[in-house]
């Protein structure tokens, strides 16, 4: 592992260097309170390069469009919003570095991100200490908001600065199990995960619900992120007689698994969660993806009236990445922060308090969020979870993700 630790060391040094320069040049911007406009920065943390970057870029530009809209409509008079996007490469260590950098930048009032639940775990404490709002458009692991003992019903919110506009895997895994058992009439599921916070959590919940419904587990396995050879796994699945494969993880591995599975003549669908709900999955897996299933949070963004302008803007600006999964939620997360800033200023006689104070007040304001966003109603419960519990099952049909069932799942 010599390479990786060096890689991390190099990126840490680089990030450190960048952070220092960033602080130097930007600290002035935030305090330009000369009666004209104040610049307030909304941070973004997501994987912008490498693994998961298609979805990560969708988050960055979802926030960018929300900020552009707010500036154009002068949603908060006297404030110009800006975006500062940092790349976490889907690595918890990079996420924590970025969180520290964002906290240190006194022009940043709140953050949208990250994409991965595992990265979120490394960032929550940093934002909590700084009393700074973090809204993830995509984290679905239940422990992030409800604590480690959530499954036994003993829910404790670990960080009051953390919110999310995506619903949790507790609902997503159950929704998937329900669809696999009751609609597809699958009896034996082979369950694989990537050992990450998100993947292992989701796969565990799916297994629990699937067996509770009366289905059987045909076997279980775990893979490493970054693996490319799944022939051993495929042979095991083939031999297990499973009629569906459930994968908890990201598209980077599942697209290869489905390809190798179908190439070995195992014609069972692969089902996964929102982590593999991406066009990249179909592009890489090609014909092998046909019939595969994925659940995702919310309802299809293309069916939302409010999201029409958003999609049009995204396309006309030619932004890279994939807005389909979390673009709408990112837009809403950024809007929640923007509306929160307005509430903080209204309570302070129309002026923004000093940044440390403003960050703290923003946490309270975001907790009271209540508006209709482009991806549905936006408000948070006592855990910081969204009250919008809608989920959709998608299936690959003729090379496209087609929604097959939308609904709310309550467990």
């Amino acid at each position: 592992m010599r390479h990786r630790s060096l890689l991390i060391l190099t990126s840490v040094l680089t990030t450190g260097a960048l952070t220092l320069t960033a602080c130097g040049s930007r600290s002035d911007d935030g305090k330009k309170d000369d009666g004209a406009t104040t610049t307030v920065v909304i941070g973004v943390d997501a994987p912008l390069t490498g693994a998961n970057s298609a979805t990560g870029l969708g988050i960055q530009y979802g926030v960018q469009i929300a900020v552009d809209d707010a500036n154009a409509k002068k949603l908060v008079p006297g404030v110009t919003f800006k975006v500062k996007a940092l790349d976490d490469k889907a690595l918890p260590a990079s996420g924590q570095q970025n969180a520290t950098a964002l906290v240190a930048d006194k022009s940043v009032i709140g953050v949208v991100g990250p994409l991965n639940s595992g990265v979120a775990q490394s960032m929550q404490q940093v934002f909590s200490t700084a009393n700074m709002v973090e809204i993830s458009p995509s984290n679905t692991n239940p422990t992030l908001t409800q604590g480690k003992t959530w499954a036994t019903g003993d829910k404790v919110r670990p960080f009051k600065t953390y919110f999310r506009t995506a619903t949790t895997d507790a609902l997503q895994g159950g929704f998937a199990a329900d669809y696999a058992f009751n609609t597809l009439h699958k009896q034996k599921a082979y369950i694989v995960d990537d050992k990450q916070t998100y993947g292992a959590g989701l796969a565990g919940i799916f297994k629990g619900k699937f067996t509770a419904l009366g289905g059987k587990s045909a076997g279980e396995d775990h893979v490493n992120t970054g693996d490319t050879d799944f022939s051993t796994l495929v042979t095991k699945i083939k031999n297990s007689g499973a009629d569906i494969l459930y994968y908890g993880g990201q598209y980077d591995e599942s697209e290869l698994i489905t390809k190798q599975l179908k190439a070995a003549d195992v014609k069972i669908p692969l089902m996964g969660g929102d982590g593999m709900f991406s066009d990249t999955y179909i592009k890489t897996a090609g014909a092998a993806a046909e019939g595969d299933l994925s659940t995702s949070v919310g309802v299809p963004v293309t069916t939302l009236q409010g999201a029409k302008d958003f999609i049009a803007t995204y396309k006309s600006k030619g932004y890279p990445g994939d807005y389909g999964t979390y673009g709408g939620y990112s837009y809403d997360a950024a809007t929640a922060i923007i509306k929160g800033v307005k509430a903080v200023m209204d309570a302070n006689g129309g002026k923004l308090p000093a940044m440390d104070d403003a960050r703290g007040k923003l946490v309270e304001a975001v907790q009271k969020t209540d508006f209709d966003g482009i991806a549905g109603h936006v408000s948070f419960d006592q855990f910081g979870d969204t009250t919008n519990k809608q989920l959709t099952v998608y299936q690959v049909k003729s090379g496209k993700w087609e929604p097959v069932k939308s609904g709310t799942y309550t467990g």
């Binding site: 799944f230 051993t232 003549d265």
Partner: protein, 309 residues
């Protein structure tokens, strides 16, 4: 259904690839006692070279026409980078303490990875690689993909070619002489610099062939594909006895089969359920390495070289 034959076949295919890459480690080590940690990245650039050839061919070119060109293109890129690395990164450090070229190799590996990541178009994600049509083929209870057939065929061709080259050709014998004792070889009139360049070039060539095979097998190339493959191939080279070309191939096969069987069967052993499965494959691979090195420190086919230990 008995899965053992299939799992052995899976391991054999994986092992053939490890073996092909391991040749690069073992040849370079055998001649200059340098662990070329950038070799995994040379493997990766071979894959990207082949992909570049494929994408620059007119649409609709048959894969059977494209494939030889891809192998040639990929080999050219990998061999040039391997030779360049030797000329500009390692040769100036020849005679320097062992750690210096080792650190250089790690630096070069990072540099190559980042260069492809930054400058190859869209390389920040996996790029799709053409795959061979047809298959899977069935032999008894074993199903074999067309990409696997290519892999095994080229591995056999490359290995027997290399063995013949080293044993019979003038240059091959010069290589053996240099490996035994570079100073004496030089005194006997062998241009050792040339031999070292050839060792790097052959390593690059084999890595490129392995990269094309990997692309065909998995349908993608990625800027960091060399990291894990390189690590495994290095393990295979050490397992087989570093410096020994047959050892590299054998080490690759043993490692591939061990990995495949470990992830398939260890979880069936009562009490070991938690230690099996795909995620533990790497752990078992290294356990095997440690055990072999404890019993035979020189590797499976390695020779005791007291003066170089």
């Amino acid at each position: 259904m008995n899965t053992l034959p299939q799992q052995l076949a899976n391991g054999l295919f994986l092992g053939s690839m490890y073996g092909l890459i391991a040749i690069g480690y073992t040849m370079v080590y055998g001649i200059v006692q340098l662990i070329n940690f950038a070799h995994g990245e040379i493997f990766m650039t071979g894959g990207f070279g082949a992909l570049t050839v494929y994408t620059s061919l007119p649409d609709g070119t048959s894969i059977w026409v494209a494939l030889p060109l891809m192998v040639i293109g990929g080999s050219l890129v990998a061999v040039l980078i391997a030779i360049g690395a030797e000329r500009f990164a390692y040769r100036p450090l020849r005679g320097a303490p062992r750690l210096a070229p080792l650190i250089t190799a790690i630096g070069l590996s990072l540099a190559l990875q980042q260069a492809v990541f930054n400058w190859y178009p869209k390389a920040d994600n996996a790029l799709s690689f053409p795959q061979l049509p047809g298959g899977p083929f069935h032999v008894g209870s074993i199903s074999i993909q067309s990409g696997d057939i290519f892999l095994v065929v080229v591995a056999v061709i490359c290995m027997s070619g290399l063995a013949a080259f080293v044993r019979t050709s003038r240059t091959g014998r010069a290589m053996q002489a240099t490996a035994q004792d570079p100073d004496t070889a030089q005194l006997m009139g062998i241009d050792t610099n040339r031999i070292i360049v050839i060792a790097f070039a052959i390593g690059g060539l084999f890595a490129a062939v392995a990269a094309v095979a990997s692309g065909l097998k998995y349908g993608q190339v990625k800027y960091d594909m060399g990291f894990q493959a390189g690590l495994k191939a290095f393990t295979a080279a050490v397992l087989g006895g570093i410096g020994n070309i047959y050892g590299a191939m054998l080490g690759g096969l043993v490692l591939g089969i061990a990995e495949s069987c470990a992830s398939a069967y260890i979880s069936n052993i009562p009490g070991m359920e938690q230690l099996g499965g795909g995620s533990w494959a790497n752990v078992w691979a290294f356990v095997l390495l440690i055990v072999v090195l404890l019993v035979r420190p020189q590797g499976l086919l390695g020779e005791r070289v007291a003066d170089r230990a």
